[in-house]
């Protein structure tokens, strides 16, 4: 059976197509303002890559924002549920999932069979999301990839005082004026966000194996800072930004139509889904 998983993120859409359980094709594209259209376009394009048509696909499950506006999806599942399923397939020993995307930072405690046991999220403050790193990269006048690479060269720890992406930008500019090495500033940026992500993760408890996914998992500077911050090992799967879509595809393969999870948003219980 052919199934598809669609993950509509704050910045990028990801699509994974599974044929009899194996990855047949995957694709990523910018989400932009028209989320549903971007998802549909990418889905079509990814199907073409696999030599398939919409009619060949048995079931489509979506996750992420604008989930319910995706007309071609058969079902919507919560981000945390998608993450849990995707990670469990790749790393069966995973017990804690950290997912940092462009606009959210979440931590999920999962059971051995891939069910969400507990969950915490920051989706209100840009300082705990990929957007923070991008804003600082702009202030440093380099790409996020360059910033990730040079931060590994730094052996200095400079604390960033700003708790906010907007103030952080001013702080980076002022550090540059003080002639601080850009590699040290880059590391400071990663240390700062690692601290915030670790705080969210500690709400659910850090139990190994810890797996990190989402766009930020591709940032080796951030991963290094996070490993040091939690003093534990972190597993980074290949294509970490596709894991949400993979999980949605897994849900499609298992015939799941709806999956909600209870959310801890800074100590409050809210049902998401």
């Amino acid at each position: 059976m052919i199934v598809a998983g669609i993950d509509v993120g704050g910045k990028n859409v990801h699509v994974v197509i599974l044929k009899d359980g194996a990855r047949a094709a995957q694709g990523a594209a910018a989400t932009g303002i028209q989320k549903a259209q971007a998802a549909e376009r990418l889905y079509e394009e990814t199907l073409r890559k696999a030599g398939l048509k919409q009619v060949d696909v048995g079931r489509v499950v979506a996750t992420g924002s604008a989930c319910k506006r995706i007309a071609f999806a058969d079902a919507c599942i919560a981000d945390a549920a998608a993450d849990a399923r995707g990670v469990t397939r790749l790393v069966p020993s995973a017990r804690t999932v950290i997912d940092v995307g462009a606009e959210e930072g979440r931590a999920i405690k999962i059971s051995p069979d891939g069910k969400v046991l507990d969950f915490a999220i920051n989706e209100k403050c840009a300082a705990g999301t990929g957007t923070f790193v991008e804003a600082m990269a702009i202030a440093l006048e380099m790409s996020v990839e360059e910033m990730a690479a040079i931060s590994l060269k730094s052996s200095t720890s400079i604390p960033m005082n700003a708790q906010c992406a907007v103030f952080g930008e001013s702080e980076v500019v002022s550090l540059i004026h003080q002639n601080i090495e850009k590699q040290d500033i880059a590391k400071a940026v990663h240390d700062a966000i690692a601290g915030r992500i670790a705080s969210v993760a500690r709400i659910v408890g850090l139990e190994k194996d810890i797996v990190i996914i989402g766009g930020m998992a591709k940032n080796e500077g951030f991963i290094d800072s996070l490993r040091k911050e939690i003093a534990m090992d972190i597993i980074v799967p290949d294509d970490p930004d596709f894991v949400g879509a993979l999980g949605a595809a897994e849900a499609a393969a298992k015939g799941v139509l709806e999956e909600k999870v209870a959310v801890k948003v800074v100590g409050q219980e809210i049902v998401e889904g």
């Binding site: 303002i33 606009e103 840009a126 957007t131 708790q163 907007v166 103030f167 500019v173 004026h177």
Partner: protein
């Protein structure tokens, strides 16, 4: 006329003023307050406790230079130099870096004192929004601080939040207030608290073709709401006044008044003799600092630092 991308919409004009009715050489006690904020810097010069000169400038990358620049611009061609000053107090975020100051006092105390002088002894609550913070201060009839609440961690509800927005929609920051009222109907406020996420929300509205003035109204409303939450945690008492840059944004002020159900005091000097002097809400901190200085010198609590 196409304005190229180099134009900076947040860059409000710097200003300065000297009281031509006072000859500083005839004064006895000359005191100065310098408020170095993260975004703007002000200097206020008092001659025997009367307003003599002030400046409102943009803080540069170097705090001591910003302090010197603010004072230099304030005194301009008057011939007054640092050596003629009896006492100078530094305040604001960069207060420890005011090279000509003999002492520093927190901006909370200075804003309350300055607001008391500007608006009068009936002031009980002062809201000051600076470049990177927002404070709600309760004070007594002498301008002494009784209680306060402050946010200096999050850009939402700070001057930077408004400047970032101005740059995004490419409208000079001082036009936003008036234009936010040129709408057919008051739109719903921007839902994201975070300035960064609010920016994405604004981009979405722009792409949907929502009129710019409506977006300005939505943003001002969101900012007013944010300030109101801080004020309500402290408790607002009349006479309620606003100092700092945001007092100049009617779009936020009027919406804040509506949410609170309390009107802010009119922006006029309490002292009728000052009625023709410019009333710049951004000088409140530096003014309070200069007032503390003259009180300390005249009561003999500190020694004059005057050299000439």
């Amino acid at each position: 006329m196409a304005e190229e991308t180099k134009k900076e919409y947040w860059r409000w004009p710097e200003s300065t003023w000297v009281n031509s009715g006072i000859d500083w050489k005839k004064g006895t006690i000359i005191t100065v307050g310098v408020d170095v904020g993260s975004v703007s810097s002000q200097a206020v010069v008092l001659v025997d406790g009367e307003l003599y000169a002030f400046s409102n400038t943009r803080t540069g990358s170097d705090s001591p230079d910003s302090a010197r620049k603010a004072l230099g611009i304030a005194v301009g061609e008057t011939g007054l130099t640092v050596d003629n000053i009896d006492y100078c107090i530094g305040t604001g975020y960069g207060r420890v870096n005011v090279p000509m100051a003999q002492r520093t006092i927190t901006e909370i105390a200075c804003h309350a004192r300055g607001a008391n002088f500007m608006y009068g002894p009936q002031v009980r609550t002062v809201m000051d929004m600076g470049g990177q913070d927002c404070k709600a201060i309760n004070c007594d009839d002498k301008g002494k601080v009784l209680n306060f609440m402050m946010n200096d961690k999050c850009a939402a509800g700070t001057g930077r939040g408004m400047e970032v927005f101005a740059d995004l929609i490419r409208v000079p920051v001082w036009e936003i207030g008036p234009r936010s009222f040129q709408v057919k109907k008051e739109p719903p406020m921007i839902s994201s608290t975070c300035v960064v996420f609010a920016k994405s929300e604004v981009v979405g509205l722009l792409e949907k073709g929502v009129p710019e003035n409506d977006i300005m109204a939505a943003y001002c409303a969101a900012m007013a709401h944010r300030i109101m939450e801080l004020l309500n945690r402290l408790g607002v008492h009349e006479k309620f006044v606003i100092t700092g840059g945001i007092a100049k944004n009617e779009g936020v002020v009027k919406r804040l008044e509506k949410e609170l159900g309390i009107k802010t005091a009119e922006k006029v000097w309490y002292n009728p003799a000052y009625k023709d002097y410019p009333f710049d809400t951004q000088i409140a901190g530096a003014l309070g600092a200069a007032l503390f200085a003259v009180a300390m010198v005249s009561k003999g609590k500190v020694k004059s630092a005057r050299k000439k």
